[in-house]
């Protein structure tokens, strides 16, 4: 007959969260690196266009302001990834708890 042990269940739930997060953090890191590389290219081009005169000083400054918005958009994408990761991890922990409780009934 199976027994309900809160400490064991909590430890299993914590393990489920840890396993999920450690698997997913590499994927997230990969995407963040991609985003940062794209940013580097854009900044390089922005400076080049100021040097060649394609952008006036006023437009250059305006584009730098736009960069803040693009960065905000990119952080929103990363935030969505983090939410998806937390959702998956918490649900994995809830699955452990549900399975344990169901086994007792």
């Amino acid at each position: 007959m199976s027994e309900f042990n809160i400490d064991t269940t909590l430890r299993e739930m914590a393990d489920a969260i840890g396993d999920t997060i450690s698997k997913d953090k590499e994927k997230i890191k990969e995407i963040i690196v991609k985003i940062l590389n794209r940013r580097r290219e854009r900044m390089k081009m922005l400076v080049e266009l100021r040097i060649t005169g394609d952008l006036t000083q006023q437009r250059f400054e305006s584009r730098l302001e736009d960069e803040k918005k693009v960065l905000e958009a990119e952080f929103n994408a990363i935030a969505a990834l983090n939410k998806a990761m937390v959702q998956k991890a918490v649900n994995a922990a809830l699955d452990v708890l549900t399975k344990t409780v169901r086994a007792l009934l």
């Binding site: 027994e3 290219e41 952008l55 994408a77 990834l81 990761m85 959702q87 809830l94 409780v101 009934l105």
Partner: protein, 167 residues
């Protein structure tokens, strides 16, 4: 419901390895009961929508086509890049972006995608106005705009596919 809950508690309590039953255990049991009788899942982010993902891809392609056509088929000489020549293209993309924003706004738990769409639309309208003011656009600025929007659409796709990417 109360009878069921009581039965459940008695059933669990009889199987506890603890020699005594603390109030904290009671709350854990109530939580567990609620867990198995509810959907047992949490949701922090909107479900993946293949139609929205497809629309993001389509709009990104339209923007690419718009700027590449401008770059490859026209030059700044002889007023070749006057704003009037591109009005239709600007409207076409703007309509797609507004549609994308509205589709995202009606979905719950979708504030990240909404904000990315808002920023994309805002910058599209801003660069359109700059083109209108200057009545011309250089190859360099076309390249920069292409890169900026490509990155914004990448962010949009990442936010839309977040759950899929993680799974």
């Amino acid at each position: 419901m109360t009878i069921l809950s009581l039965t459940f508690q008695i059933s669990i309590m009889s199987k506890l390895s603890y020699s005594y039953f603390l109030p904290k255990h009671f709350f854990v049991l109530i939580f567990a009961f609620l867990l198995i009788t509810s959907s047992c899942r949490i949701q922090l982010i909107a479900d993946y929508d293949a139609n929205v993902a497809e629309q993001i891809g389509r709009t990104a392609m339209k923007v690419e086509r718009f700027y590449l056509t401008m770059l490859e088929t026209t030059t700044v000489e002889n007023n070749g890049r006057a704003y009037d020549h591109f009005t239709e293209g600007y409207i076409d993309v703007e309509v797609e972006l507004i549609s994308l924003l509205n589709r995202n706004r009606v979905r719950p738990l979708n504030e990240n995608s909404v904000r990315i769409c808002e920023i994309t639309l805002e910058l599209w309208q801003k660069y359109k106005m700059e083109h209108k003011e200057d009545n011309s656009i250089s190859d360099g600025v076309i390249g920069l705009n292409r890169l900026t929007f490509s990155d914004l659409f990448f962010a949009m796709q990442v936010a839309e596919r977040a759950k899929e990417l993680i799974d």
